[in-house]
Symmetry: D3
Subunit: 128 residues, 6 copies
């Protein structure tokens, strides 16, 4: 497989997980800060790692949320909560994932994750 093909696969997957508009918006924001960063995320992270077949997208979303919430990486947490909702995870799944990691990463990490989830859920409700 060549890199261009991975890039295409990553682009399609991002569009599926974010919707075409949000996918373009986040890619644009990456491109502005560094075209290489955009490339690596689309090609390698989305087009390769996320494209692996063994785990379904919903499970991948939940384990990714667990990791980035534990590490307190807010930009990635925001993006991954949004993607999770398109990957078959319900709001409760996201909340329960954050509650599950509370004893492991600490309640403060859980709290920050829940606060971000709630903000995203509220925004979604107001759009409807």
């Amino acid at each position: 497989m060549d890199v261009a093909k991975r890039m295409e696969r990553g682009q399609h997957l991002l569009e599926r997980m974010l919707g075409p508009e949000q996918a373009e918006a986040v890619r644009m924001s990456w491109r502005q800060i560094s075209p290489q960063f955009e490339e690596y995320v689309v090609e390698f992270v989305a087009g390769e790692v996320w494209s692996r077949a063994q785990l379904d997208l919903r499970t991948k979303s939940l384990v990714t949320i667990a990791a980035v919430a534990a590490l307190g990486r807010n930009l990635a947490l925001d993006l991954n909560i949004r993607m999770a909702l398109n990957n078959g995870a319900g709001r409760e799944d996201i909340v329960e994932t954050l509650l599950q990691i509370a004893p492991y990463a600490g309640f403060p990490a859980c709290w920050e994750g829940l606060a971000m989830a709630q903000k995203i859920f509220s925004e979604a409700d107001q759009k409807t």
Copy 2:
């Protein structure tokens, strides 16, 4: 619900997730370092958080592995890989969870998780 009931529920769940011998062994090790620590883990972590109904045990195992691998907490990582195998996660699920978090927590965190998983898998093979 009272705390004693939670304790009982946590004890049963730990036995299910670790087998009765390993459950007793890890509880003994906790008791020796601090009886309160054992109580809190059995009652609150196992008997309450792990006993929540929304996510299945396999998913909970995978998100927990993601969080503790990201944080580099080795005692908990070892225990949670062992429990995952009794919670319906195959070896591949564990490996794929660790690969999925590589771009998020870094390849070094993934590497340490995979090395620990391999050690546990090898031990299991030698027992058979």
Copy 3:
């Protein structure tokens, strides 16, 4: 002891450590993001862990500030600096705790903790 009793004990302790209004405000914010999160914090974190007798509340506040500042968990840091002031810790105690951890968690973690402490102290001064 049953869980309801712990809950009551946790509620009283939170009111003592935050004042009744702030206690209600933070509990409301937890309830909105997840009623289970509120329950766990009030019952287990406040009603059980904070209610242990061996260390006094002032010492517990300072060690908690040290841990959450080291981890960079800002929501919990803000809350714990406010609680520390009601738990018998003076402003200097909080500042000195953050200076003490500077060589251990790094000056940047200390800096972020001091900046948050100063913001809280200034707000308190303006209320008077």
Copy 4:
């Protein structure tokens, strides 16, 4: 050597790495939150650690950016990106340092670092 001499050396180095105005501004902000913190940073961090001769300032800036971006310490990251630009590191050097650590600290840490770098670069462009 006495501490006052180190302090003087640290002050000169900070002025060189930040320009006299920004150096005064950041020192003032430290003084307001804690005079001891200002002293330690100027005397020990700048006047001693940064004043060591083996590595040049550009290399020191890049390794410091790598460490604080990995740890997600935003106040220090902001300051160190600004100092790097006066220490002989070009914008590309900073971007490449952040890309280099992406596989080690994770893409989310890299993303947050790049977003901050871009903000600083934009501000600089608007001043010109």
Copy 5:
């Protein structure tokens, strides 16, 4: 004050907190890996930060244990548990400090801290 005086003060404090033999042993181990590291720890960390007057040594030990346990820094955790026992903290104080941070840094961090504390306590018992 000059640096040599701080060094002397730091050396005395280390001897008080570790006993003369252990103080010499740990300083020797630092000297072997880097004489500058030894100097900075003795002069700045012990002779300056630990020598501040506002907080007593027992409280400083407990907040330091909280920070390094939260961060999972095992060499520093081992040293600080040993020093705490000479700084007026009883074994229960150390255990309670680690239990207090369990909900904040997570049970795995608490577990690793308790396991190390138990090892140190056992060694001490066997010497008697």
Copy 6:
């Protein structure tokens, strides 16, 4: 460019940075724990990220050491100290990098990094 070419480039770079024997040994260890992990590290981390042209290999080694030492990732720290010595970094450069991050990531992180560096330097001396 296709992935196979990156893989080849990554393989050559690893051999250059580790020597052919150590490169094969570490690749074998990765292959045993997960062939995909080996692939990703050789192809993407070595063949793409490390192969970028802007920063020289010595600088890349030092910033990577800074990041993994800050995060406490020991397997990667060990590997990167070994590679740094083949990438034009002297022992002093490595020690100075670790001293430089002491105020940022904390002295405990620096200590663990220096201890590992010393172990690697000693082994190298004994081979000679």
